[in-house]
């Protein structure tokens, strides 16, 4: 089961409040989308429609912006987000192997979310910690000097 987007009245009013502020600024769409992504964890069509009505921008256009940027997503992400840095410094130090290991151990394709909605696996671009390459992050936590062994350990811990 894919985790469903949780749209509550409370979150909606949070979005509305954010839009009230941004509407007054020039170029309100990006800040609004950042807010929506933060509040709901993704920006599905119903949310896009609300933004469309409020900012008078067509839904297709909003979706065009949402799908253009890697930071926004239309589908909800998993409970845990594993991101492996594929910046050059990390790549030449073997981060592809780490990504493959996560993909194998979590049984999920890169960019996808596991069926139980527990994990999303992403490849990210440089997060600027190249001195510690290869790097990966699980949710907010950063793991430095990654290795396949470390992946195994982390996955075990996450699954338990």
């Amino acid at each position: 089961m894919r985790s469903k987007v949780n749209i509550t009245e409370e979150k909606l009013s949070e979005l509305k409040a954010a839009m009230e502020i941004h509407k007054k600024e020039p170029g309100p769409l990006m800040p609004t989308l950042h807010a929506a992504q933060k509040i709901f964890g993704c920006i599905p069509l119903p949310i896009q429609k609300i933004i469309s009505n409020e900012l008078d921008v067509s839904i297709a256009r909003i979706n065009g912006v949402v799908t253009f940027y890697g930071h926004f997503s239309v589908e909800p992400k998993g409970k845990n987000i594993v991101s492996v840095c594929l910046g050059t410094a990390c790549y030449v130090k073997g981060s592809q192997g780490i990504l493959d290991a996560f993909s194998h151990d979590l049984n999920v394709k890169v960019g996808d979310t596991t069926d139980d909605g527990m994990f999303t696996l992403e490849a990210t671009r440089c997060i600027g910690a190249c001195g510690l390459a290869p790097i990966f992050t699980v949710n907010e936590e950063v793991f430095a000097n990654g290795s396949v062994q470390l992946v195994k350990k982390v996955v075990q811990k996450l699954k338990s």
Binding site: I127, G128, A129, C130, G131, L132, A144
Partner: protein, 122 residues
């Protein structure tokens, strides 16, 4: 801020505070707190310094965050500036090492050579 003189006065005051002008035995602990440092574990290190120095009631020691020094592979990096002009850079600092630095270097005044960046790199 209306005039350059005003700014310069503030600058003088800040400079003196930052570099402990006229303070005897002043110590400034700079913890590298950029993304690299944070990723490498600067937060517990910083917290350790703050807590231990508070516990020891060392009011002439200031702990501060600074940006990246560039030596990312050796983060977390801590630099100790003393009002006598000496500067010491420690690298790959952990919270345990941080305690040790407080005890040995800051309290007793003994530099701990084995943790020096200059030693580690060579």
């Amino acid at each position: 801020m209306k005039t350059l003189e005003e700014l310069k006065a503030l600058r003088k005051k800040s400079y003196e505070k930052m570099y402990m002008i006229g303070v005897t035995g002043g110590v400034r602990v700079q913890v590298g707190y950029g993304t690299c440092g944070i990723a490498a574990g600067a937060k517990p290190v910083y917290d350790t310094f703050v807590n231990e120095i508070k516990a020891l009631n060392l009011d002439n020691v200031e702990v501060t965050q600074v940006g990246c020094m560039g030596e990312c592979a050796f983060e977390p990096i801590v630099e100790i500036l003393e009002s006598n002009g000496s500067k010491t850079i420690y690298c790959l600092v952990t919270d345990r090492i941080a305690s040790e630095i407080v005890e040995e270097h800051i309290v007793k005044g003994n530099r701990i050579d084995k943790y020096l960046l200059s030693k580690t790199k060579r």
